[in-house]
């Protein structure tokens, strides 16, 4: 098990991801500059989620890791989300 073949990600992939991230960043800056009311927050958060997805899968190698690490990451995000939602059961309905 010492010498499992480690996946070497080519530089190109990283570059592509960076470009995608930059595009998303600029897009989110542009879109939030428009007056969209409540949608602004949603738009900004959607772009942030897309970006974090890219960072997690490519930069942080989740795509090439064992499945259980991915499950753990998903689990942690899910727990956090649930905590926020439950907290808002209080604030939203106050």
């Amino acid at each position: 098990m010492q010498h499992e073949k480690t996946h070497i990600v080519p530089y190109r992939t990283y570059l592509i991801i960076l470009v995608a991230l930059l595009i998303f960043t600029l897009l989110s800056v542009k879109i939030t500059a428009i007056e969209l009311g409540g949608l602004t927050v949603a738009a900004a958060l959607i772009f942030a989620s897309l970006k974090s997805y890219l960072v997690l899968t490519y930069f942080m190698h989740l795509k090439f890791d064992k499945i259980y690490i991915r499950i753990m990451v998903g689990f942690v995000f899910a727990v956090f989300l649930a905590v926020i939602i439950i907290t808002f059961l209080d604030y939203y309905f106050r």
Binding site: Q2, V79, A82, I86, T87, L89, D90, Y92, F93, R94
Partner: protein, 537 residues
């Protein structure tokens, strides 16, 4: 991975002479077993402080009016008592002591995954403890907020809060590191052939606990940091005068502190799940159900924090959601109790001290847990919230649960840890005295709570007097029992009769190595075959 080593296998970890001598050989050792004992002795010391504070409170409450201390001192005493007991004793208690000592052995490993980190956690723990002690002894008076540090009082009081808060933060950090270490250990270092479903139950509970430690502790960490910043700069996050919401503080505090109560109880349940099969000489009943309930408690326990805030002014929706979730988290505990009792069915039970402790654990745990149901229901909690009833609930379950499990565990694994046997007669006498004292000490508090006596009350009205006297008397009896138990253990560790490798005929891996275990635990890493398992009698 398991390269051959240069350490002889006939030297126990206690006798082993490494690079360092004397005390240094301990406080610089990365051996998980020595670290476990380091934790144990530092906890014992702090624990005695906590006990003394508890006794002082009971003495104060023996009669209305001032008995031995003033209100300010009383407030400081229950705060420090709570902080010590929660953050320094029961949260790290079983994982740091028995988890450290036994987890690697029970899964067939030579040590934890990161031995140096393990030692480092102990230092962090000590640093946190010292900070709390500083806050007690220096500055303008000991902290007096209760262990919950509720805003806005915690940044209004003039007492020396900062070191205490920071101490709790540091202790949390130690807890996180320990949890991290254990998860990696369990994932990476299980003996070949030991699949997840063949892992003994104690490691399973450590695993569940470790996840809670990891995911819940940071939340209280940041909350405490914010309270400190509030005190120093007045940033306003919890200060109503600046627009902050004190109830949000409670949310964040309990997001950690409720899961923390399951950090405490899960390893205790794990220890009980080891003791009962061994002394019944029988396979544990419903292994998979117990594992599943462990994970369910760890998971659902994350979402019920609001039951501490039923009167704080949350929205009604939040209130009944939390109530229902609270009830759901009680189910897995019930499943465990049923399985433990069923394990005894048609067993061959030998009444040794650890079994007495385990059986009484089940009893007091049921009382504590069932009283939790009273607290979980809305109408009844509104009535008993912040009364002596809550104090009774959590002493029964924290101290009854964790404390009794701790004593079950220490008697059970004592021969393994020290290679000697304790004196059975004294151990049993200590148990019964302790048990009686315990019931006398805390049962009256249920009654007081139902009568409406608020908690954290330095003084009380005449109608609460009688029950308080009984309770105080109980505290003396129990301490007497505790003294017998501890003295017996100390004496036996030095001069008890030599114990064999497997005095109880246990089937988990720790009983296959000599007592006390050699430095690297196993001469050869055990391999689990198809038919092997932790409870195959």
């Amino acid at each position: 991975m398991q390269a051959s080593s240069h350490i002889p296998h006939d030297v126990s970890y206690l006798d082993y002479k490494g690079k360092h001598k004397g005390l240094l050989a301990w406080i610089l050792s990365t051996d998980h077993k020595r670290i476990a004992l380091l934790y144990m002795f530092s906890m014992m010391t702090l624990f005695l402080v906590g006990v003394l504070l508890g006794l002082a409170m009971k003495l104060e409450l023996i009669a209305p009016g001032k008995t031995i201390m003033g209100a300010q001192d009383y407030n400081a005493v229950f705060t420090v008592h709570g902080v010590i007991m929660i953050f320094m004793i029961v949260v790290p208690g079983l994982p740091a002591v028995f988890g450290n000592f036994l987890l690697p052995i029970m899964i067939g490993a030579k040590d934890v995954a990161f031995p140096k980190l393990n030692l480092f956690s102990w230092y962090v723990y000590i640093a946190g403890a010292i900070l709390v002690i500083i806050s007690v002894l220096f500055g303008d008076g000991s902290p007096d907020t209760g262990w919950t540090f509720y805003a806005p009082y915690s940044f209004k009081t003039g007492t020396n809060m900062l070191p205490a808060i920071f101490g709790a933060f540091v202790l949390g950090f130690s807890s996180i590191l320990t949890g991290l270490n254990f998860i990696v250990t369990i994932h990476r270092l299980r003996a070949p052939g030991m699949s997840w479903t063949k892992m003994p139950l104690f490691p399973w509970t450590i695993y569940g606990t470790a996840w809670i430690q990891l995911l819940a502790t940071p939340v209280v960490g940041i909350t405490l940091v914010l309270v400190s910043l509030e005190r120093i700069f007045g940033i306003g996050v919890f200060d109503p005068a600046l627009g902050g919401d004190p109830i949000l503080y409670q949310h964040l505090f309990w997001i950690y502190s409720h899961p923390a109560v399951y950090i405490m109880i899960l390893p205790a349940m794990g220890a009980i799940s080891e003791v009962i099969p061994t002394f019944s000489q029988k396979h544990i009943f419903g292994y998979k159900a117990i594992v599943a309930s462990t994970l369910a408690i760890a998971f659902v326990g994350y979402f019920v924090w609001g039951h501490h805030m039923f009167t704080s002014g949350m929205s009604g929706t939040a209130q009944y959601t939390f109530s229902i979730l609270t009830f759901l988290v009680a189910i897995p505990s019930a499943i465990k109790v049923f399985n433990w009792i069923s394990t005894m069915y048609k067993g061959s039970i030998s009444l040794e001290t650890p079994f007495y402790w385990a059986a009484s654990f089940i009893f007091v745990f049921m009382i504590g847990g069932l009283s939790g149901l009273v607290l979980g229901a809305l109408a009844t909690d509104v009535y008993v919230h912040d009364t002596a009833f809550v104090v009774a609930h959590f002493h029964f379950i924290v101290f009854g649960g964790v404390g009794f499990a701790f004593f079950a565990a220490i008697h059970y694994w004592f021969p393994k840890m020290f290679g000697r046997m304790y004196d059975t007669t004294w151990a049993n006498v200590g148990w019964i005295v302790f048990f009686i004292g315990f019931l006398a000490l805390y049962s009256p508090m249920f009654y007081l709570g139902l009568q409406g006596m608020p908690r954290r009350y330095y003084d009380y009205l005449e109608q609460f007097h009688a029950a308080n006297i009984l309770s105080t008397l109980g505290s003396w009896v129990m301490t007497f029992g505790l003294a017998i138990v501890l003295i017996n253990l100390f004496r036996s560790a030095k001069s008890g009769p030599i114990a064999g490798a497997n005095p109880w005929n246990g089937k988990t891996l720790e009983w296959t190595v000599p007592s006390p275990p050699p430095v690297e635990n196993f001469e050869e890493i055990p391999v689990y075959g198809e038919k092997d398992g932790p409870y195959e009698y």
